[in-house]
C-alpha cells in the first residue's frame, strides 16, 4: 500500500548514489544540471517522499511544534490558535494543539507529551500564574514563548496584550457615558491578564480623582456562572438602591452572565446599568444587548508568537535573551454601554 520507495530506489532509478539524491532534494550541495534532472525525474516517476522518521533521526529535529492553551473551545484561544496554525503552515511546519482544560496536571501531562514528541518549540498559555510547564520545557532546552499571560517566576519571551491600558480604556469609556459609580468584576487571581485589567480600572479611577470603593468590586472566575454570582454579590453588597451604574467585567463570558442575572432581577442593561467586557468573543455580538468590549488582535498574537518562536529556534537559541511584545487593544462600542439611553435617546 503505502510508499515503500526509498531514497535508494530513486538513486538506482536515476543511476546515481543516494547521497546525490539527498543533495538534489535538499539543495544542500552543488549538483550538475544533467544529474539533477535525472534525479528529479526519478523522484517524480516513483512518487518518492522522504521518510520523516529517518530525516528526524538524522537531523535531530521534528519540525513539529506545540501549542498549549487552557481551553480550545474558548473563541479567544481558538482564534489565537488559528493565527499560529496559519503561520506554521506557511512555513511547512506541523502543529500539535493541547487543551489543558485549565487543569494544572493536564498541563503537566501535555508538556511531557510535547517533550516525548521532541517538538522543536512551543507556545504556551499557562493554566495558572505558576509556570511549571514552561519551566520543564525550558529545562529540556526546548524554545518556548509565553502568550497572553505573563509568567511571573521567570524571564521569558512573551507576546501580550496591553491589559492595563485596556482596563483604563474600558473604565474611561463608562465615565464618558455618564456613569458615576463604576464597579469591577475581577478574574481569577494569579492570572496576569486579570490582575492587569483590574489595575487599569484602579488607575483610571485615580486619574480622574475618584476614590476606590472596595464594595464596588466582586471576585469572579472568567466563567458565565461566575459572572452571575459576582453580580449577585455586588447586589448584596450595595443593595438595589445603591447599585453601581456601570461595571467593568474582566472578560466577556462573565459579562454575559451579568446581563442574564440583571435581566432576572429586572435591572435593565444598558438603561440602568452599563457594561463593558474584554476579549470580543463571538458571543458578545450575538447577545442582546450586544456587548461593548475591549478587543485584542488575537489572530495576530498567534502569528507574532510563531515569528518570535521561529526566530528563537533558527537564529538565537539562547533562552536567556527574552523580549516582550505588548499589543495594543481597541474598544468596540456596542449597546451594552449606552448608559441612560432611554433618558437621552427618546
Amino acid at each position: 500500500m503505502g510508499d515503500e520507495v526509498t531514497i535508494m530506489d530513486v538513486a538506482e532509478a536515476a543511476g546515481v548514489s543516494p547521497s546525490t539524491v539527498s543533495r538534489v532534494i535538499n539543495d544542500s550541495a552543488p549538483v550538475s544540471e544533467s544529474t539533477r534532472s535525472k534525479v528529479v525525474k526519478a523522484v517524480d516517476d516513483l512518487g518518492y517522499r522522504p521518510n520523516k522518521f529517518a530525516h528526524a533521526l538524522r537531523k535531530q529535529t521534528s519540525e513539529v511544534f506545540g501549542v498549549i492553551v487552557p481551553d480550545i473551545s474558548n473563541p479567544f484561544f481558538s482564534t489565537l490558535i488559528r493565527g499560529a496554525e496559519d503561520r506554521f503552515h506557511e512555513n511547512d511546519l506541523s502543529l500539535i494543539i493541547c487543551d489543558t482544560k485549565g487543569e494544572l496536571d493536564k498541563e503537566q501531562r501535555n508538556v511531557e507529551m510535547l517533550i516525548k514528541e521532541r517538538v522543536d518549540g512551543a507556545i504556551v498559555t499557562s493554566a495558572e500564574g505558576e509556570v511549571d510547564g514552561i519551566c520543564r520545557l525550558f529545562e529540556e532546552g526546548i524554545p518556548v514563548i509565553a502568550v497572553d499571560r505573563e509568567p511571573t517566576s521567570r524571564e521569558i519571551t512573551a507576546v501580550l496584550t496591553d491589559d492595563e491600558g485596556s482596563g483604563v480604556q474600558a473604565t474611561q469609556h463608562l465615565m464618558e457615558k455618564g456613569c458615576r459609580r463604576i464597579g469591577f468584576i475581577r478574574g481569577p487571581s494569579g492570572i496576569s491578564t486579570a490582575e492587569k485589567r483590574f489595575a487599569g480600572y484602579r488607575k483610571s479611577l485615580e486619574e480622574s480623582g475618584k476614590t476606590f470603593k472596595p464594595e464596588l468590586v466582586a471576585q469572579g472566575d472568567f466563567t458565565f456562572e461566575g459572572g452571575k454570582r459576582a453580580f449577585e454579590e455586588l447586589v448584596r453588597l450595595n443593595g438595589r438602591e445603591e447599585l453601581p451604574d456601570g461595571i467593568v467585567v474582566a472578560n466577556d463570558m462573565m459579562a454575559v452572565g451579568v446581563i442574564r442575572k440583571a435581566e432576572e432581577l429586572g435591572i435593565e442593561v444598558p438603561e440602568d446599568l452599563a457594561l463593558v467586557g474584554f476579549d470580543d468573543i463571538l458571543l458578545s455580538r450575538l447577545i442582546n444587548p450586544p456587548l461593548t468590549t475591549v478587543s485584542a488582535p488575537t489572530y495576530e498574537m498567534g502569528q507574532i508568537a510563531v515569528d518570535f518562536l521561529l526566530e528563537k529556534v533558527e537564529v538565537d537559541r539562547d533562552m536567556a535573551n527574552s523580549r516582550k511584545k505588548v499589543l495594543k487593544t481597541h474598544l468596540v462600542e456596542r449597546r451594552s454601554s449606552q448608559y441612560g439611553a432611554r433618558r437621552n435617546g427618546y
Copy 2:
C-alpha cells in the same frame, strides 16, 4: 540541555547489551529478574528516555494520530475533539488537530500534512460531501474514521448522530407545542447532517398527514448571518400575516440568527414564533430566550471514534470492513419552543 543519553549508555551502565535494555523497556521478551532490576536502575539513574525518532524509524509507526474538523472554534467540534483527545491520551498517544476553516483546499493541505507526519490513523469530519481528503488517506493505507458527517462516495467506518431521528423529534416537538405551520431552515447542501435533519422534518410532516409546503423552507449555511438571511427569506415568501408559527432550524448557530432577526422585526419568540435548533452549543443556553435544541452526545462521539480507530489500527487494518455507529440524540426543552406561552401561560 537535552538528554543525550541513549540506550547504549544504559546498556553499558547496567552491564548488559542494548538488546536487553530494549526488552526490559518494552517487555517484549523474557528477562531474568536480576538483570531486569539492574536495567531499571540504570534507566532511572541516567534519566533515560527513548528516542522517539529512532523508535518510529524502526517500528514504522509514529504513535501520532490526526483529527480534522471544519472549525475548531465551533463548540460542537471542540467538544468532539476533547472526547477524542482524552481517549488518545489515555492510550498515551499524541494528537495533531487540524482546522480546515471549512475550506476544501485547506482540508487537502491538512491531509497532506498528516501523511507527511505519517500519522498512524485519522478521524475526519469532511468539509464537504465530497471526500477527497479521506480518499487520499485511504490510498496511503492510513486507517481513517468519518465522524458526524457521512461520506457519500465511499464505504467507510463512521460515527454519526441520528440526524433524521433528530429532525423528527424537533418537528414533533413543535407540533406538540401547538404549532400548525412549521417551517424549516436548511443547512448547506451536500452535508449529510444537514440533509438528514431536513429529511426528518419531511418525514414527520408526512407521518402526521400534513402536506409539505416549499414556501416554508429556506436555504441557510450553518452560520449566524445565514440564519438571519434565511429568516428574512421566509418573511418575504410568506408575508407578515402568513408567517410560520414554528421553525426547525438545521443548527443552533442559525437559530440564534433567527432569534435576532425576529427581534429586529418585532416578532416575539416564542410567543409568536417557536424555534428548535440542533447541536446544543453553549450559546444556546446563554441566549435570550434560551434555545430548545436537539442535543447529541458529542463528547462520546469523539471517544467512540477513537475506539473504532484504534481497533482498525491494532486489530483489523482492512479498511474494506466498514461499520457504522449511529448515536441517539435527545431534545433539550428550553423557552424558545414554548409557543403561545402568553396565551396558555398567564
